[in-house]
Symmetry: C2
Subunit: 390 residues, 2 copies
């Protein structure tokens, strides 16, 4: 059978094979330490689960409005006010089946074939697939540690061409955990605006921030013309429910509604009703406790790896990832990951899954596992380094 | 802001405006009869709801495998055996976030820009949007009542061109409720196979069948090379959960997994765990009782409309729709629908929402409302016809 050409451009995630290996090891009775998992290890907070069950009891099992139930759009708008005092009209809030659906709607809305979207390398690996879907061209721009692994205005100025339509930013970013500084974001907005382009800002790790480096809470403080992607998956711990949202410019709401009606009908009714309580104090208290747990783990893992001689060039402000330079081991990062899982039952994600730029140098460690496991993982890595003589 | 060209090709559903009007009328205290709604009026069956709640209690709130949890893929495969004795490998079952996600995955897999997908007019209006998404060309072929509003081999032979890649069929179909005969399906498969094309068969109304006209239960009885779309929304009454599935040729599973990982991550964990019991006797008994209720409503509405002089050219075998010729009223179908909602508070969907072919003649009536409402609707239409002097 002949498949569409875009299939040839989608590379499988290396980490999937690695996870297969991890599963085999576990089946054989080994204890595996998981630093590869991109979702919180916590189950959804009890108040949200309870709200989901109430929604089921109340028979909320039908299609909803394509853009989401009005109560949830309103609650999200209010959340922005609580978070940073920014005034977001509920009309601009679009509830989606996960941030994935949001990004799909945006590439569908904004990109014709052969039009370019600029993005950082390293970055979230699925981003370019949404561009391939609509036959656009993802332009990956190498971003170095000295620019916090984030796009800077100079990158955009240099790479903007006749076919370029916009840029995709992420803050905090996956796999690096770094945030865009307010000043950088402001300048990027100016540069793109001068070129009549659009800016998509991925804030799906919003809330999972661990220091005061962040001098803003959301890009919406800076502009109403941004397309902001968000999710109930990470800070709100609702991965399996598949729910996210966007805040978009007012004029984009109607065309997005037309796309959403046709492509998704509606997000999950149950997830939407459950998410209504995600911003209220009982759930927020749990989310904050989890954020604190992530922060402790971050400090533990970061110090542990640095003690072992690993370089983490940018102290990540958020998400639950460390992007770790493993070059002092003398191993390419993919080899490093394979030897670590095969010989020491520690699972990590090689840089190659996030792009090409310096990918052989870096490994992503996710601290989505408890402190005991982190300590066990560190001990095993210490042993590995000794055995390997690095 | 400049949007992608595909946006210009997506026409809003006329029925959305009509539903807005209906809502206004209801807010003003009027009782509206709803013949426009494309989802069952029943809430999800209690055993499925209970399983959803158990899944929540068990903490099933995380991402799952992209193709669905193995237990559900296996259960769906078994269902085909129970349904028609056909042997479907669980490996070929792909669980999706609604049939919408399934169709999106298929157009992403199978269509390059400018490649054509043949489909019937009238048909499900969103189909062509999935083709526009990937910059393909939907080719709508007028299908007449004398061919059961379904594609026949001659249509495909006549319209197949250098850029044509496949055909999309639906049985039972929306908006007509008609089924493809086994012989027609077999011949269509042969014709497409001779042209190295693919066949997508939408079976999302499977189970909602009311007569013995169907001489097969699933297209999978005829071929392993079909892409079959299915859904938990209609017969299984799970619209708001957003869950569906596909059965695909074995060789297509891996490329679809790559697409699904990137574009959707996974379907809802809660919906999947709930759906596990959808095929078991306690839930099936409820689904069957609802099927029987739909059948009674169908007979009532069909006879009532025919008594009022409306022509329903093909007796629909399935789904919950009647595609009704309103030409004897002297009104164009869109005018008919607007006058009916404005003057008599009866909501229906004009043919124009399903294509161009004879659209001015036809109106879709959905019997997703109870018998009392159907009788009230019929009485109001009788009054309308008298008042209008038709």
């Amino acid at each position: 059978m002949k498949y569409a050409a875009r299939l040839g451009r989608i590379t499988p995630f290396r980490v999937m094979e690695l996870m297969e290996r991890a599963k085999l090891l576990e089946t054989a009775g080994h204890r595996v330490v998981h630093f590869e998992v991109g979702e919180p290890d916590f189950v959804t907070a009890a108040p949200i689960v309870a709200a989901g069950k109430r929604a089921l009891d109340a028979g909320e099992t039908k299609y909803t409005q394509s853009l989401g139930i009005p109560e949830l759009r309103r609650r999200i708008a209010t959340y922005y006010c609580e978070l940073s005092g920014v005034d977001v009209s509920e009309q601009r809030v679009v509830v989606t089946s996960g941030a994935s659906a949001g990004l799909l709607l945006l590439t569908a809305l904004l990109l014709n074939p052969d039009e370019e979207l600029l993005m950082a390398d390293p970055g979230y690996p699925c981003n370019e697939v949404f561009v391939f879907l609509v036959n656009g061209v993802p332009v990956s721009i190498p971003v170095a540690s000295n620019q916090d692994f984030q796009l800077v205005p100079r990158d955009v100025i240099d790479r903007w061409g006749a076919q370029t339509r916009g840029i995709l930013l992420a803050s905090p970013a996956n796999p690096t955990g770094t945030m865009l500084r307010r000043e950088t974001l402001r300048d990027l907005l100016t540069v793109v605006n001068e070129r009549d382009g659009f800016v998509i800002l991925d804030e799906i790790y919003q809330g999972l921030v661990y220091d005061d480096a962040a001098d803003y809470r959301t890009g919406l403080e800076l502009s109403d013309e941004l397309f902001v992607l968000n999710s109930f998956s990470k800070y709100f711990g609702m991965t399996g429910w598949r729910l996210g949202w966007m805040v978009v410019p007012q004029e984009a709401v109607d065309p997005l509604a037309r796309l959403a009606q046709n492509l998704f009908i509606s997000p999950s009714s149950i997830a939407q009703h459950a998410a209504l309580v995600a911003f209220d104090p009982p759930a927020m208290k749990i989310h904050e406790a989890r954020r604190a747990a992530f922060e402790k783990r971050k400090i533990l893992l970061q110090a542990g790896l640095e003690n072992l001689g690993f370089n983490i060039p940018v102290n990540p402000s958020g998400a639950f990832y460390l992007y770790v330079d493993v070059s002092h081991t003398g191993l390419d990062s993919t080899d490093f990951c394979w030897r670590l899982i095969d010989e020491y039952q520690v699972a990590t994600t090689p840089g190659i899954d996030f792009g090409d730029h310096d990918a052989g140098r870096y490994v992503r460690f996710a601290y989505t596992t408890d402190e005991k496991s982190i300590n066990l993982g560190l001990a095993r890595i210490r042993e590995a380094l000794t055995d390997w003589g690095t």
